[in-house]
Symmetry: C2
Subunit: 230 residues, 2 copies
DNA sequence: CGCGAGCTTGACGTTGTTCAACTAGAGTGG
DNA sequence: CCACTCTAGTTGAACAACGTCAAGCTCGCG
């Protein structure tokens, strides 16, 4: 976790889409203020329940967002990738983090003070509009997660997770997992053992190929069917 | 489902809080355009998957918002009460309803065109700010729901629902349910039978009194404990 | 080569669903 | 006014899905 040097927001290639509606002066204001940080895999970016002062924009790596529970297993409610920022519902409500963020891979992120963010919302209607759109997308993802976890059984849930990973995280049918089996389990709301058994079944049925952390979806159509039928 | 006459938004007592940041001209613009509608208990206000043109503000009654699933049971993701409006994440994304809304009691609502709403967001920063705060609250509710349903067993989940109803819907420890047992089950992500058994247990343990649809929480402290321990 | 963390597998137990039967109350038509 | 029906609620028994537990495995690393 060390501060690193990086280019200005104005020319940054890893800038989140949300900043596209900002003019050069606004971007410069963000740039002056931002803090760029490197996290090693496994390091905590922020903890559930702690105050939130910063918006976190991911410029490289992969971050898991999960709900902690002392009595029970954790549950991953989302992943954040480069060109994404981490949505923070608490930033407008109780100024607390609702969930914990941990780097799954080595990750770099820019921290942007929420004051600046709030100012931009108030002064730039397009930024506000894009922000609302992003929050809406996030709500839809949460609703999808509720639907998946409550209305489907293990195979359907695991199918959802594999589809999500290939479409929204790795952008390929074939990918090398940087999440552990425990993470997959937490993401699909089941135990590690159930996750492993579900994947084993998919492998036996030739729906995926699975060698260690290398996954290839061989039959996306069947996987979709399993996802649909629960 | 008939159009009814009602007072202007400017003096309306049942107006949603979100409108507090509007000036008289803005309120008048909303007023000119709004459509007031009465729904009988059980009537559908809008269906999951259909286009959304209106924001729905509840002025009386109670509305359940739920995810439909042909293979599986429905799941209620929220309730909307007077002085609330129904959040619609689709209004900024795909212009489709993500869930179905059905009146649990006789309900009146004002429909407000989303165009007006979008204009207000763009022209009135305070309105935008309040809207973002409301969406944030909604996200937190969804996260809480995920936490409740995935990290707790039936008793914990039912405790959550009873606490939610008393604190956020009926505003009393003693209330007459206008939701069916099936609704309670859908709200806590379990079957009707499990819901009934959980309530029966609470009754036996003197945590609640239960006569038909009349519920009184006798031991809120114990109920909180059950909620915490899952 | 040995250690340890994460992964894998099987046996078993628990939770909660499913199914089927029964009850109570509300509405309907003879 | 009384059967009749229909729906929501209730209960018990059987069953399936999934979690728990314990043991063994693999692979990277010192």
């Amino acid at each position: 976790m060390a501060k690193i040097i990086s280019t200005s927001c104005i020319v940054c290639q890893n800038r989140s889409d949300i900043f596209n509606s900002l003019g050069p002066e606004e971007l410069e204001a963000v740039n002056c203020q931002r803090i760029s940080v490197h996290y090693n895999a496994g390091e905590v970016i922020f903890k559930q329940g702690t105050p939130c002062y910063y918006f976190v924009c991911i410029t490289s790596g992969l971050v898991k967002l999960y709900l902690e529970n002392e009595n029970s297993h954790n549950i991953i409610i989302g992943l954040a990738r480069p060109v994404d920022y981490i949505f923070m519902p608490g930033a407008y409500v109780n100024y607390r983090h609702q969930f914990t963020a941990v780097a799954c891979e080595d990750t770099t992120a820019c921290l942007i003070e929420s004051d600046i963010w709030h100012d931009l919302i108030k002064t730039n209607p397009n930024f506000a509009n894009d922000f609302i759109r992003k929050m809406s997308l996030q709500s839809i993802e949460l609703i999808d997660k509720i639907s998946s976890i409550t209305q489907k059984q293990v195979f359907g849930r695991m199918a959802d997770v594999l589809i999500y990973l290939s479409k929204n995280i790795y952008f390929q049918d074939s990918f090398t997992l940087t999440l552990s089996r425990q993470d997959l389990a937490d993401f699909s709301g089941m135990t590690k053992e159930s996750a492993i058994r579900a994947m084993k079944k998919f492998k036996e049925d030739q729906i995926i190929s699975l060698k260690g952390n290398n996954i290839e979806i061989l039959n996306p159509f069947l996987l979709e069917t399993i996802s649909k039928n629960g």
